[in-house]
Amino acid sequence: MSELDIQPELVTAMLTSFLREEVAAAGMHRAVVGLSGGIDSAVSAALAARAFGPAEVLCVLLPHERSNPSSEAHARLVADSLGVATRRVDITQMVEGYVAQEEVTDPTRVGNVMARARMVVLYDLSVEWGGLVVGTSNKTEMLLGYSTQWGDAAHAINPLGDLYKHQVYQLARHLELPAEVIDKPPSADLFEGQTDEADLGFSYAQADELLYQMVDRRLSFDELTERGFDPTFVQTVAARVVRNQYKRTPPVIAKLSRRTIGTDFRYLRDWMR
């Protein structure tokens, strides 16, 4: 048993209650989830299906012609197992319309364009469907900044944001998601052969363990290295967490007036929900 293990039943109960109530606070009772074929979006979709009922959840499949065909197959497997509505929107033309015209070849830039094209579609369909865009970013990737700002990191509400990858796996097994989705190596599938762990240079298991001790338990650098974490690894991860703070905060506003949004104009989003 890992120190990171959660009580999946309790977490499921909390997150379904959270989704129902916070979506209702926005005056809605339906959800839109971009389904990638990966484990995070599968768990988000499964939680939404429990919270709102499968008929109220629209899962959107957003392939690009260079996407791995197994991604779409796995997304369908998840949607079928949940019994949710699906919609397929091929983003190739959207993406290439810009990327080809401007001759963008850097895979990171192309990947970001893909992630943002998907965001554009999800937000548009959220109007058509009358539902809120439910996020799929877990705590590990948010802390590491392994996401595209205003792309996959854009959503109205996020049930996974306080769960490390390890905990997402636990929840996926509890929610009985298809084994194909749980067992495959995590990948953003933004270019051929991509895997998260190769991109990051370390495994999710390593990152989860370190982030949990560093963030949740507030252990210092010295305490972490005394416990056997490699100093270079600790520094690399700590630097990523700090460097990517901008992805976790709203844009910075210069204070000029007596009362400034975000500084001393302080209201929750659930203000008079």
Binding site: D5, Q7, L10, V11, D270, W271
Partner: protein, 304 residues
Amino acid sequence: MTRSEYSSAPPLKNLRVLLAQTNPRLGDVGHNLEEHLSILRQAREARADLAIFPELSLTGYFLKDQTFEVAMEPGDPTLARIAEASRDASVIAGFVERDRGGRLYNALGFFEGGELRAVHRKVHLVSYGMFDETRDFAAGDSFRAFEGEKARIGPLLCEDMWHLPSAYLHFLDEVDVISCSSASPARGVEAGGQGLASERSWELILRAQALLLRTFVVYVDRVGWEDGIGFGGGSCVVGPTGDVLLRMDALEPGTAIFELDGNELRRARFETPLRRDERPSVLAAGLAVKLPGWHLSTEGDDAR
């Protein structure tokens, strides 16, 4: 406050308490008032003697700048409506109180017989982690019992319960029941324990206080979500021997009624007479030594 002032207070017989585990809407006092009134009608039908609501039950919890906007002064029509509804069952409900000096308090009103009879102002404001109460609230500086016609009640607000002297001062006042209204966020889902870690902490504290102070403890926590922070619920009644006599669901709103039995209180206090054997003078002497220059006043705290 001396004991002789209470010599005419009747001993506790049976007290039917309604626990109102509500989900207040943030800043929507009108909605919350209607919900209170509806629960108070239910209390009347169930012949309850006392209905207890959570912390800030009329306003919601993470108010931030809304604290100023929802604050109520004596004579506020919302408080008057609750008072009016307190003719059959007494009521403990949470609101933001504004005093003449413009200070805002996280307050608990005690309504009985058609009147607002007393107010408890949260003494131990909480400002750490996700909390920021000292930014918006002034702190209360005393623990005084609510003198009900059927019971003497020691009111506490959430964090008050985490500071030993709070319930202890009510113990010295020989209350029949400590009533703790709370807006406690649900947290701690690790597999090491069963249920929420926050709920386990609360149970430990409530049971220990009930056991040591030989009193009933009624805990009423709210439920619902405010910007991703969920409140735990799990409202409960603990008896004077530390046993949990009633527990409500975590996370779900609802009401429950429990009848406190005055004879249980008397038996528990006879079997283990901790109040009789308590020596507050030892505490007073110890404080005088440990806090030299302390003159039995809390006014110095204003400097904070």
